[in-house]
Amino acid sequence: MSDTKLMIRFFTVADYEEEEIWLRQNHKNGWKLVKTVPPCFYVFESCAPEDVVYRLDYKNNTENSDYFQLFQDYGWEYFNRCMGWLFFRKPVSETDTEQDAEIFSDDVSRIDMVDHIVRTRMLPLLIIFFCCVMPNFIRSLNESTSFADLFTILFALLFLLYLYLFLHCGLRLRRLRRKYSKRP
């Protein structure tokens, strides 16, 4: 039986390029990813060290049955699904050209994916923030019982967490979008 190990690492929706590099590095070190458990758990299995490209596609469960067949035809192994993301890998030895190791061949489709993330992940989060987190935070500030103080702290923490995630994801997605649209 092969060894397994659990690793904890947090990647936001805007960090998929870093996640791909990290997974490739792990496979090079003899650990291949088996599955992920939200929000930040990665289960690895020991394997022969190999240079394997990892690619993440965000489909938010809109893909049809043809999708997996197409990726399989292109030589991609599909092995995991997590929060709308689909995980693929392919050994570098099976790629002839640089494009064989990519799931997107033009920047229009890369930008489409970023926009899809913004539309289905960032916007709902923004609505929850303005309709739920912020009003509760403000309301709890106006109440003065000790019970309410606990909520104030709780909502303050939530408020800060949200703010951090917004700034981080928003700026990163904008940077990715710019990178893709500036390329020749």
């Binding site: 043809d66 197409l70 292109y74 061949s105 033009d106 489709s109 994916m113």
Partner: protein
């Protein structure tokens, strides 16, 4: 023709053009990719995600339609709307080509 569709697709991406062009005959995604590679001498490669995304968008916009399934693969073919768009695009590319050679276009 719908002006919105025309605005989106004329001009279209290089991958979009080749996909629409190949779908004058029924074909599935991977088959289109292989054909384009061969037609362009390997200069244009369309990856899986780009292929899937373009096919779904074109199907949604009515430029292509699902015809049948063959060995778990969906076969698509161009529609009359798609053919009109393709014609406009070919006309535009011909003008570009002629002008790039220093020729004028006589309408």
């Amino acid at each position: 023709m719908d002006n919105k569709i025309r605005r989106i697709y004329v001009p279209m991406t290089e991958s979009g053009f080749y996909i629409l062009y190949c779908l004058q005959q029924p074909q599935h995604g991977y088959g289109i990719g292989q054909r384009v590679k061969q037609m362009t001498g390997g200069e244009l490669v369309i990856s899986a995600g780009t292929m899937y995304g373009t096919l779904s968008k074109m199907e949604k916009d009515g430029l292509i339609a699902f015809v049948r399934e063959e060995e778990k693969r969906k076969l698509y073919q161009i529609t009359s709307l798609g053919a009109k768009i393709l014609e406009l695009e070919i006309h535009r590319i011909e003008r570009l080509y002629k002008n790039s050679r220093g020729e004028n276009v006589n309408e």
